[in-house]
């Protein structure tokens, strides 16, 4: 894992940036959210992929590409979380200022 992080830090930083931007936008985004069923399906797919990667079920380059995909998701999700949190803070502050005035 440490090797993958060290080897791909540039791509991981990119994924984090995409996540940060997405999280920032998500707070004010008017698009519909993902349905509960789809969320479960996505979660099940994610668990399956992680299990396949950990158990090394997929050999060769395909296995490596799966690992790369999963490892890119980590900074993306972290970025989303941070972006959303920051934007939520900004939105909450502006709403408090507006209600105070």
């Amino acid at each position: 894992m440490a090797y993958l992080v060290a080897f791909h830090w540039g791509w991981l930083a990119g994924a984090f940036a995409i996540g940060l931007a997405m999280g920032w936008v998500a707070v004010v985004h008017r698009a519909p959210g993902v349905s509960r069923l789809l969320t479960w399906l996505m979660a099940a797919l994610a668990v399956g992929l992680v299990a396949a990667a950990v158990a090394c079920w997929i050999p060769g380059r395909a296995g490596y590409w799966l690992e790369l995909l999963l490892i890119l998701f980590v900074p993306y999700l972290v970025g989303c979380g941070i972006g959303t949190w920051l934007r939520a803070m900004v939105v909450m502050r502006s709403m408090r200022q507006r209600s105070a005035s």
Binding site: G14, M22, G23, A26, V34
Partner: protein
């Protein structure tokens, strides 16, 4: 936190650029990552003893193909690659080098090269054997045809290096180690080489033994060439030791009374038995030729040249074979020198005196038997006698003053008769020769000294 969960439902659009990013990352990083893992896996195996190592990387999975020389070495190699950071799986395709039974190694020498064949137990040792061969035989091509196999006997390296050290003594041949058995065939480069190799084999490590040693010695050559133009006899080739060297040179000096003996002989071991008993009679035969060559190769004697007259040629052809020890072969290729032009008796006398002035006819001490060393001299006298067929010759024997005068007279008479008999056997008419014995009555020097007595013991030819 609840808000975060709620808003996370809107994070999915970002997955689209993330997938694009992933595609770029996979596109650009796969080959560099594989190359990086391959180079670091190779580095991890640098200390391992392996043959035919091949590393292929697919993603983060490494396929290791190699021949190992022990089970522990094989496991260690796989573990070393497995421990390389970034490697996910090791596809173990290693195997043990096959075990050779029997374990055979060989060094074969021919004219231009040494070929190392069979098996070596380890790659490093294989290299050391090649280097040792190059060092032992500078300038000789070394062909490495060795494979690798397990199952070498202990101390194999010491035994192989010892044999490599001996290849320089071979002209051609092959040394083989088969398990603990050492087999040697071929021809030694020089006389004594076979013995030197046999002596070196005594230092073989424990567990090795000489199964067969068929190394042959080169032919033991002795040569003599009688050159009538340079008036020399050149001796070359080998003699067994200093004593026999002295015997051969001394005998040659007596037999070749007219020629200078050029001694190019060297002392070498490996002479056939009865060497001196064969070479001395052969030199006697050569001394009877006007020009000729004697070649002794092991136990084969080959003599060729021109005899001075017909009977001498016949005597050499049949006589030499009887004179040499049993087991020796003689091949005599003798022709007869064309007869010289006849001369008148006065010239004949001068020729007799010239020849007898250079050497004396010798006899056995106190007896009338002709010494074999004088045969060449007698043949010269026969040749001269043939040139003046009209002349009659007194053959006069003299002795020194030692002993009884009557006995000396009888001895001198018998000695003169023996010389006359030799001339008659050569084909000259008996009535041309009159043997006379004067005993000690006509000394030409003092009988008080050994040198004077030696001068007084003589045979004279007087043409009438």
């Amino acid at each position: 936190m609840r808000g975060l969960l709620r808003w996370s439902g809107k994070w999915w659009p970002g997955v689209i650029p993330l997938i694009v990013l992933w595609g770029f990352a996979a596109w650009t990083s796969t080959v560099p990552l594989e190359n990086d893992l391959a180079s670091r896996s190779s580095a991890a195996l640098r200390g391992s003893v392996l043959d035919r190592t091949s590393i292929t990387v697919d993603g983060r999975d490494v396929s290791l193909r190699a021949d190992a020389f022990s089970e522990a070495g094989r496991r260690d190699a796989v573990a070393a690659v497995d421990a390389v950071a970034g490697v996910r799986l090791v596809n173990d395709q290693t195997r043990l080098v096959p075990e050779a039974k029997p374990f055979v190694w060989s060094a074969e020498r021919d004219v231009v090269r040494v070929t190392l064949g069979g098996n070596a137990p380890l790659p490093a040792l294989k290299g050391r054997l090649v280097e040792a061969t190059r060092a032992a035989l500078p300038g000789v091509e070394v062909a490495d045809q060795m494979g690798l196999a397990r199952g070498a006997p202990s101390r194999f390296e010491d035994a192989a290096l010892l044999l490599i050290g001996q290849t320089g003594k071979l002209k051609d041949g092959k040394f083989t180690i088969s398990d603990g058995d050492v087999t040697l065939t071929g021809m030694a480069r020089e006389l004594g080489g076979r013995e030197a190799i046999a002596a070196a084999l005594g230092k073989l490590p424990d567990g090795f033994k000489v199964a067969s040693n068929e190394v042959k010695a080169p032919p033991y050559i002795f040569q003599a060439y009688k050159d009538p133009v340079a008036v020399t006899v050149t001796l070359s080739g080998n003699v067994p030791d200093e004593n026999i060297h002295a015997v051969v040179v001394g005998s040659s000096s007596r037999k070749f009374f007219n020629e200078k003996v050029v001694d190019n002989l060297k002392n070498s071991v490996g002479a056939p038995v009865n060497f001196v008993n064969a070479v001395v009679p052969a030199l006697g035969a050569l001394s009877r030729l006007s020009t000729g060559t004697l070649v002794v190769s092991d136990r084969d004697i080959k003599i060729s040249g021109d005899a001075l007259y017909d009977a001498a040629a016949a005597q050499i052809r049949t006589g030499l074979a009887k004179d040499v020890p049993q087991g020796w072969q003689v091949k005599a290729d003798i022709t007869v020198k064309p007869a010289a032009a006849p001369v008148d008796p006065t010239v004949c006398q001068q020729l007799f005196s010239d020849v007898l002035g250079k050497a004396k006819i010798r006899f056995e001490t106190g007896r009338s038997d002709l010494d074999r060393d004088s045969t060449g001299l007698l043949d010269r006298l026969v040749e001269i006698a043939f040139r003046c067929p009209a002349a009659t010759v007194d053959i006069i024997g003299h002795t020194d003053a030692d002993g009884d005068a009557a006995a000396n007279q009888v001895l001198s008479q018998k000695r003169a008769q023996a010389v006359a008999d030799y001339l008659v056997r050569a084909g000259l008419p008996a009535d041309r020769f009159t043997p006379i014995g004067y005993g000690s009555t006509q000394p030409i020097a003092s009988n008080d000294t050994g040198e004077g007595r030696a001068q007084n013991r003589r045979i004279e030819f007087l043409v009438r």
